[in-house]
Symmetry: C2
Subunit: 471 residues, 2 copies
């Protein structure tokens, strides 16, 4: 950096352009090899929910990182697959960028809806079809491509890189806290890049600055040791009725959560965030068309629709079941009824406090016998719009894709980003090589190869600019 | 009968005793052969819900009836397995007794909980183990045994017998109305014997005089064409919430059904029925022990418990399901939610009228979009306590089992008995060879061989006494 100050500006800029072009050209020259690398990673199943292929995938990720120059460690939590931690020190740069990805994937079911077998990683029409091709293996290999380019072209990376690749993101990162607790002292740096990101429907680069939090609970109501013939319904309590009555106390028909104090800690959007939200693209018509619905809840539309989408705490019944659910009729009085609920949280709602409020709510309404098991507790994550890394990511996206970037104050989805933003206090942006028709979590998941390549250039540019930035 | 009046009473009674003893002795001598016959029928699967083995079972039943002297017809409804109708005319008796049974059985699942394979009909410890051994094949063959005894010992049956054996009882008799409509003119007689019955826990003979009715419905709430990521919960309607809110309008926490006019046509128990109910054994402790519960709904106990059990219309959630119901957590916003409900009815509630009231209720509460499909509609059935056949059955039970019989004004269960009591206007009693530990509808269903044999004698005595009775 100091060197640049001593040479004329035009020459310096031209050098920068040249150096960037070399990185881009390396990526273009080597893309076929990285497509093959991604295919190899995709052909290795890694379904965390089914404990399928996890060790093999972890080993493959660790090998890829090693091959790119990282020193690696495989951290084994008390249960579950390892978390791969890689460090790559810069010879000249002093700044440190953290990177988060995950090597686990969603289950492939229903398999019969896939055009290409989900672990074949077939290349067709400019895409790689595989479970995990987009979420999240495409991003892993795209980033590897960017980092290798620096290593091969310059023999160095512009900044230190600390890379965390976990294997349980798709099941709620149940052991990630263990890793953070142990590695906290080493997970230092100035900024971080989150796992996902990419283009919107108009091929504009998306820079996402936050995630909603989540409290995921399962309720169990048991009223007897075993099911009865429903002839007993006049005298034996039905747990499904009890569950229905309990659930109906949680939210009113206007979507307001009725648990006392639920909204106490909600931090409203700042004026700056609201301004960005106003400009954020969230196409009502595309969601309406996809779902075949005429309108949204409570008649939401426009700015109010976006504010609710990105800013409302929610209470969602993700699953409910009891009794006989097969074809035809069976007259059973069930002994057990269950429901799963995900509560999406916003800053600064604390999932542990809210879990307590939920239990108090149950007790207050006479449902203290209902078992509540907590299956996930993530607070929301939010990086300020004014963060240097947010600006670097947006500017780099514009340069690589030649389109005005879109900044998302937050996604409406959730994840463990709060470990980076809240625990490690790292400004964190989600950028990557995803595209909106990648069928993430669905059959025929795919990775567009052109975005995979351009995404690598975007990451490379962010690494370069981040390393140079003074903040 | 006239003959008997001309001979001295003692001689006549002695003759009657002798004649009865001969029937009983025939049954005892031939019981092993009938055990084998029952085993053959049990080894033939006939799971109506799965359309498994229905034709073979129907043919077997028809053959058995033919072998016992019946002329038979196999009635094929528009769909589903045939209904076997057999007629056996008495040479000397003029009265006609109708008999109802069913040859279909419940599914065998869960198979791994069976000690003996469910279609092996293994004989062990004085019992035949098989799906259907008790419900309802044991009763069919026990009755065959009684009728054959008359044929072989006397060359005649004391009265005409019209026997209906259907194949869809376990799935709600969806085509039985077709049979009744076509055969109504031929289904004439003075009384009828229903499919089930037998002994209570103290080996006392049970005479059951009625069944509750049933309205079985399935609700479907659909709010979108496909499931969404639950990140959309702030703006896209969740059908599970809508279902919960709707269900919570149907019944209050005291078990009162809130559908307008639901109780309008309820005919209270008569004073005579209440007197019998007071003496009816319904052991609270055995149900409490079986289910591991401390108390019953609303603190019901004693007479109030029995009145509710036998006399209350009920609204039971037999099944509810939506979204993700597997292990772990998945954040889905479902597009469809469903529930199955069985409403038990009492005299004189009309299921068709109540179905209309239910739909009006939904409309009144803003749930007119919720689909309601009717899966079964049976009114309640009730034979008066004072019916001659009720008295004959009780008296015969006492003679055969040497225990005071128990009359049940009604069962809390349901079935198509109303076709006999209401449509055909036949006083109908449920008696048979069941016993309370027969695991009906459960794994290890079994038929006690001693009750199977004694039940045949009971039926024989009822046939004899019915034929002789002047009413």
């Amino acid at each position: 950096m100091t060197v640049q100050r001593r040479i004329p500006l035009a020459k310096a800029l031209s050098d920068v352009d040249t150096r960037q072009r070399e990185i881009s050209e390396y990526i273009d020259r080597n893309k076929d090899r990285f497509v093959e690398k991604l295919r190899i990673l995709c052909q290795q199943p890694s379904v965390s929910a089914q404990n399928l292929g996890m060790t093999g995938a972890a080993q493959l990720v660790e090998r890829f990182l090693k091959e790119t120059g990282f020193t690696t460690e495989s951290f084994s939590p008390t249960h579950g697959p390892p978390i791969i931690f890689g460090e790559l020190l810069s010879k000249h740069g002093s700044k440190t960028l953290l990177v988060y990805n995950h090597y686990d994937v969603q289950p492939v079911e229903p398999v019969d809806l896939w055009t290409h077998p989900p672990f074949s990683a077939a290349v067709d029409d400019g895409r790689i079809y595989a479970r995990g091709a987009s979420d999240n293996k495409g991003n892993i290999v795209s980033r590897l491509m960017a980092i290798e380019a620096f290593q091969k072209v310059r023999g160095d990376v512009p900044c230190n890189i600390k890379w965390v690749v976990e294997g349980e993101e798709e099941i709620g990162s149940p052991h990630f806290a263990e890793f953070i607790a142990k590695y906290k002292g080493r997970l230092t740096g100035e900024s971080a890049i989150w796992e996902f990101g990419g283009l919107d429907y108009d091929d504009r680069p998306l820079v996402t600055l936050g995630l909603k939090g989540m409290l995921y609970v399962e309720f169990k109501v048991q009223t007897a040791l075993k099911d009865s013939h429903s002839a007993r319904a006049a005298v034996v309590e039905n747990p499904a009725w009890r569950l229905v009555r309990m659930l109906d106390t949680i939210q009113d028909e206007d979507g307001r959560i009725l648990i006392e104090g639920w909204y106490d800690d909600v931090k409203p959007f700042t004026a700056e965030e609201l301004e960005v939200i106003r400009s954020m693209p969230l196409e009502e018509h595309s969601i309406r068309d996809e779902l075949g619905i005429k309108s949204f809840l409570y008649g939401l539309t426009g700015f109010e629709f976006k504010k609710a989408f990105y800013g409302s705490p929610t209470a969602n019944i993700a699953g409910i079941w009891s009794g006989y659910t097969g074809p035809g009729h069976k007259t059973v009085l069930p002994s057990v009824a269950r429901a799963k609920m995900d509560f999406r949280l916003v800053p600064d709602q604390d999932p542990a406090r809210l879990a307590g409020k939920l239990k108090q709510h149950l007790a207050r309404h006479g449902f203290e016998d209902i078992e509540v098991s907590l299956q996930a507790e993530n607070p929301a994550a939010r990086t300020p719009i004014s963060s240097p890394i947010a600006k670097i990511a947006a500017r780099a996206g514009k340069e690589v894709f030649h389109k005005e970037p879109v900044t998302l104050v937050t996604s409406a989805a959730s994840g463990p980003m709060h470990y980076f933003t809240n625990t490690l206090r790292l400004p964190t942006v989600a950028i990557g090589c995803n595209h909106p028709r990648s069928n993430t979590h669905a059959p025929d998941e795919n990775q567009r190869i052109d975005v995979f390549v351009q995404g690598a250039k975007w990451i490379a540019k962010v690494i370069e600019d981040f390393a140079k930035s003074s903040e």
